[in-house]
Symmetry: C2
Subunit: 306 residues, 2 copies
Amino acid sequence: MELNSLFLNSWLVKNWKIALAALLVIALANFVRYITKLQRYTKIFEFSKHRKTLLDGEEYVGADFNSKGNKRAPDDTTPNNSYVPALKVDKHVPFNGATVTLPGGPKQFYELANNRRSVRSYSAKRIPPLELIEECIRAASTAPSGAHTEPWTFCVISDPNIKQHIREIIETEEEMNYAQRMHRQWTADLTPLRTNHIKPYLTDAPYLILVFKQIYGYLPNGERKQHYYNEISVAIATGILLCALQAAGLNSLVTTPLNCGLALRKLLARPENEKLLLLLPVGYAADDCVVPDLKRKALKEIMHLY
Amino acid sequence: MELNSLFLNSWLVKNWKIALAALLVIALANFVRYITKLQRYTKIFEFSKHRKTLLDGEEYVGADFNSKGNKRAPDDTTPNNSYVPALKVDKHVPFNGATVTLPGGPKQFYELANNRRSVRSYSAKRIPPLELIEECIRAASTAPSGAHTEPWTFCVISDPNIKQHIREIIETEEEMNYAQRMHRQWTADLTPLRTNHIKPYLTDAPYLILVFKQIYGYLPNGERKQHYYNEISVAIATGILLCALQAAGLNSLVTTPLNCGLALRKLLARPENEKLLLLLPVGYAADDCVVPDLKRKALKEIMHLY
């Protein structure tokens, strides 16, 4: 058969030793490449697998700076009493319940809270005394926190130059956020609130409060201290801060300056364990201030009784 | 040479066609396996890569259910006006600033907030009327939220059987948390607060409030709606809730039941878009209630002026 004769006379058959050797080399090379890549991807896979097997809720716990992570190491045989609690508590004391309340109870409190609106336009002339701000932050700092770590830092800015600098940092990033980084549905969802990358309130408001979460702290011996659930704790403190500002007759706005945290942290020379969570302009609403005519959800939409 | 003759007479040389074919088949099989694995790992790698290049702050935004993610897709040429805002706002209205305040201002508010303590021991006999709880949740729901999405669900449990069931779920998980999952430093850090996996307050407290974050919502047309910064928003609402409970003379405790979210969500038949963030027992402190003799940080430790 012609085909058979073609095959028997082919280069491959005549030089089968070379061909076999070449094939072996290629197979070996592929095998080495495969193993190498596999190792690389396996590492990432292990990482992802770890993320996937995080306990439900564990993602909120805190900074995972400890080599042993937040979880107990399987080989950790240190006796329990060799771990010293970060918190010093001398004793427990009797507690008689809530003794300071509001005369009008929760109804009065609801009316207070319900009167709060997010304000994007501030009077630059009416400047509240700093003592008001201090008292509000003092109230915020009564928030509960994971293992009483109090993982919050409130930076209060009144210096016009620093406010200007903050505004420049945020407007530069926000211009990119609105133009490129945020999904169009997001920018569309913000149009009813009339927000864009121009933020006059950052220089008009007499105070800016930058709320940092401390993702870890330090023990007296200089070792790092785990700050459990620090983000949730700091957001809860901010909720209390908003109520205090309202009680003081002050207006504010909770903002989340996307991608500005590092620049703002450096501008204020805050340490590495602090991460910006929120920024609130604080002051009195401008005379021509308007707010969107929003409705809030009815109780039956948000509360379910069992 | 003996070695050469051995080689020429070997099975391999005699059956070189079969050997060659076998080698080709092995090489092909390996190649297919390699490509398949690579594809799988590449997907995970792309995911990890994406996570690493998140913008600072972007991790808080919301559920990434959209195929285009939170970021604008580079090939998205849809005109901006084809995205409809989820929020309907008919008009903007003049705002005259905070008109409902506290007579004692922020000082009075600080005293209210500072009187709040985390309570782990409740009277099972003194039962506050449900109206008080409702008013407090109404106050919490005035919290600001990303693009006014109001991403919270408050489940109020008063049924003793459901409370018992919740207690069983949490105690089972917490026993494992304390014994195996939590780092020993963590359990050590909790000893001053005298907490362990036994939680009588879950059945003693007349009410349990389970605070769910809605990681996404639904538009009228059934499509998913992005809930920006839902976790921060819900934690802020919880901060307001704590103040309202205090104003009502009620005690509570903010807890984070680790790894119980799914079981509790299913027990309460909550939908998939809701994820448990916090659980608060609510009621009046027991007569023999004690609290750790904690100090709170001084203002100068937490506030910095610029």
